[in-house]
């Protein structure tokens, strides 16, 4: 008997896919491996050590940038998720009404303009405001991050809402729940995984941002990514690898949780 004919197979596709997965992970793994290099080269292996992690930990600039990154991401993601939840409630589960298309377009606008253009625009706008008000704190970065995080937070929340069975709220109303009670007892608990997913997405997006931060930040407001970008111009030591490794770990952790939350909804 010959081998059976698999209708799904396409010649060479599996090989290319394997190359892709290999190519996607090889560089990342290299970065992680050299973070543990005992020597100060990111090319020559001199044995295992944690010295670069200690060094990064004791580097004030790194610690400050990390804290700043977390501060900005926490504030931006929280605000973005709250307003995105409200916007999602306002733009789903209704027949089309005047302005609905406009709202979709407006909320997704930050996704449609190249980051560099938004960055330039914010540089111009905020530099004016800085002159007028004299304020040059983290507020600008937080505002900018909040704005571009909104569409990302909006995405999973809206998806969740659109998949939600409309009759559940109708059923709640039928069972004497006032609109507010129906929201609190039925809509919100069912929406919660979407909100959580939105929050995490927004957090990761804010944490990762380079371009807009690079243009908007005032002196001494480096976040971890802009600090790293600055370091690339110098001689690179495995300290960058160590920072990257920790950063990667945090991202992967958040993405994993996100992945499982958004998977879970399909099974409900």
């Amino acid at each position: 008997m010959g081998s059976r004919f698999d209708i799904r197979r396409q010649t060479g596709f599996t090989a290319i896919a394997m190359i892709c997965f290999f190519a996607l992970y090889l560089p990342i793994i290299t970065v992680v491996v050299y973070a543990f290099n005992a020597g100060s080269s990111i090319a020559i292996w001199e044995g295992v050590s944690l010295r670069w992690f200690y060094q990064a930990w004791n580097n004030n600039q790194v610690v400050d940038a990390s804290i700043r990154s977390l501060q900005i991401a926490s504030v931006a993601a929280t605000i973005a998720t709250i307003v995105a939840t409200m916007a999602a409630l306002a733009t789903t589960r209704t027949k089309p009404y005047p302005g609905l298309g406009f709202k979709y377009a407006f909320i997704n606008q930050p996704l449609m303009v190249p980051e560099i253009v938004t960055a330039v625009a914010l540089l111009i706008f905020f530099s004016r405001i800085k002159i007028w008000t004299g304020y040059s704190g983290l507020g600008y970065l937080m505002a900018a991050h909040t704005a571009f995080c909104i569409p990302f937070a909006y995405l999973p929340i809206r998806a969740r809402l659109e998949n939600m069975d409309l009759t559940l709220e109708v059923a709640a109303a039928d069972l004497y729940a006032t609109p507010w009670k129906a929201f609190r007892r039925v809509t919100f608990p069912l929406l919660w995984p979407g909100i959580l997913a939105g929050l995490m997405l927004a957090f990761v997006i804010s944490l990762d941002d380079v371009v807009i931060t690079e243009f908007v930040k005032s002196g001494g407001q480096d976040t971890l990514p802009t600090y790293m970008l600055g370091q690339f111009r110098r001689v690179i030591t495995p300290e960058i690898n160590a920072i990257s490794t920790v950063f990667l770990l945090i991202s992967i952790l958040i993405v994993t949780v996100f992945f499982f939350i958004s998977r879970k909804k399909d099974q409900e």
Binding site: D165, T167, L168, V170, A171, A172, A173, D174, L175, Y176, A177, T178, P179, K181, A182, R185, V186, P189, L190, E268
Partner: protein, 380 residues
Amino acid sequence: MGTGSALKSGRKNGVIVPEQPGKSAIEVRGVRKVFGTGESQVAALDTVSVSIRENEFFTLLGPSGCGKTTLLRLIAGFDFPSAGEILLHGQDIAPLPPFKRPVNTVFQNYALFPHMTVAENIGFGLEMLGKPKAEVKARVAEMLKLVKMEALSGRRTSQISGGQQQRVALARALAPQPKVLLLDEPLSALDFKLRKEMQIELKRLQHETGITFIFVTHDQEEALTMSDRIAVMSSGRILQVGTPWDIYDKPAERFVADFIGETNFLTAAITGMANGKARATLKSGATIDATVAEGFQPKDNATVVVRPEHAKLTSGKGDLSGTVENIVYFGTDTHIHVRLDSSEAFTVRQQNTRSAGCGFERGDKVGISIGNDAAQVLRD
């Protein structure tokens, strides 16, 4: 005849019971519901009026898209009528939002809250009404017992079968003791056997609770077996309201006769009226007495309907004559399709016995006699 006779007498569980004049639980008066605007406007309900009595098992029967769900949603308050009014025990409920109407719904897809347990679902309505915890608990236990779901009270609703979900949905809607229970095709998702079981179960629950049920279905058999009264709907209108007997035996319009059971349609000339009965002369020349649909306007060419089991096939002469075209065996009975001499088609249903054959063969010349009281003249 029609609704007229239903007011005087009704039959419940096969027994004729005197009909109380009936206070109405729900009174629908001239209700219209229009969706969309301009060109794309559709009238889902086209001036519907109906009165549903207390403690009644009332069924809305009609094909998909005829407006059954729309009418239920208006009664429940999920949507507003475009015109007309709906009274609950004589009171206009237009200003009441759904959460203030003493009316509960069993949804077509059950709409059980997936993040709550069976017991939490059942208790939800009482909780929203602000009932004390102890009372809610006792009532939930009572409901669980009523629908025989005690063992599964702690389960998530996603972890129980379709039939069990159905019971929970019923218990949840009954728990707050509504004045009226609305059921939107609650059995359509169940398989045949379970559906039969639940039909009996529903009748029992209605009997035990004494709550007015408004039941929606597109299944004529379900409607006939379960209802005290049926309203047959088509294209947003109610065509006829009556007991199952009225609807089946004395259909008012062609649509009703056609939608419920199988029927023979004959063209006839009405030659006279006496004692509320019409004398109808068929194309074969035979003249029979026929009951008349309410609202019938005398006219030359009326339509007479005869149910296949109310006619008898003879080898001699009958009211009609024709040729056997086809014979279809159904186990319990046999359908004999006859081409009448007037070229109309006519089907006779004949009960089977164990002796072989139905006594006729294809091509036989046969007569058909129509039983006394077997024919009804339609109004359209």
